[in-house]
Symmetry: C2
Subunit: 160 residues, 2 copies
């Protein structure tokens, strides 16, 4: 956890070490941004190409992903503090609750982005629309929920 | 991790214990579904009300969330195995890669849903559109990315 000082009027909470569940990084994300001040606030479909580089173990799990134009990417915002209850986005003392922001600072700093799939080259998935730092650990890739239709059989009484 | 047997042609991988990052459950989700076979495949806006019950620690972090009609909810699919590289949704031997599915079975079993915010009652956030089991651990709540505009000042050279 970073030790960035809270801003005026931001509220922190004393937390025990987290121990509820553990993540397994499945790769790393390469973006053009190596400093937080350069990252866009939100990814854009016309943004630069970024690369999701999977650990070789997970490459077989990409089979079929090429059918989707838009995918959802989950990543671990490893440089974020986790104890802010309220945050002051403009550093002016005006705060809002952490859950009313998409700030990287959250109790579980997981970023989610919907991105355009550009191409898949072996263990590399090239996308546009990310906003995270170069070197961010990758957690998951899934078809975007808007484009995805469940592939399992329909359930009784549930319209497909 | 569950020990559900893989289905025909599904591929698993031997994994060490995960140790990359730890999650901290911030509450629990209550839904009408106590058995996986009853859960909808995907949440629906006309689905039943479900309740996100926050640990009291985190209630101040809800301030301002009431401004959003649609929110994103992240949760930990704690009954999912994590080692499937390919999966057979119809149990018929035809498989597709885990990253080309929105199955709960994934290396990091994090569910993401976009839901309608119905109301906030103290530590309870009532929503429609979830698809997870009753008792699922809650990881995060954020404004849906489609509705959210960054509250921090614009950055040089980036259109807002």
């Amino acid at each position: 956890m970073t030790t960035d000082a809270p801003r005026r009027n931001e509220i922190t909470v004393e937390l025990p070490a987290p121990e509820d569940a553990q993540l397994r990084f499945i790769g790393v994300i390469h973006t053009p941004w190596s400093d937080r001040k350069d990252c866009p606030r939100q990814g854009r479909a016309d943004g630069p190409e970024c690369r999701l580089v999977l650990d070789p173990t997970w490459v077989p799990a990409l089979a079929g992903l090429e059918d989707y134009a838009q995918i959802e990417v989950l990543y671990w915002l490893d440089r974020s503090r986790r104890d802010l209850l309220t945050q002051s986005p403009r550093s002016d003392g005006a705060t809002v609750g952490t859950f009313a922001l998409r700030s990287p600072v959250r109790p579980n700093p997981i970023g989610t982005s919907r991105v355009d799939l550009v191409r898949i080259d072996g263990a590399e998935v090239v996308v546009r629309g990310l906003d995270c730092l170069d070197g961010t650990p990758l957690l998951d890739i899934k078809p975007d929920r808007c484009a995805f239709s469940p592939k399992a059989p329909a359930k009784p009484g549930v319209a497909s």
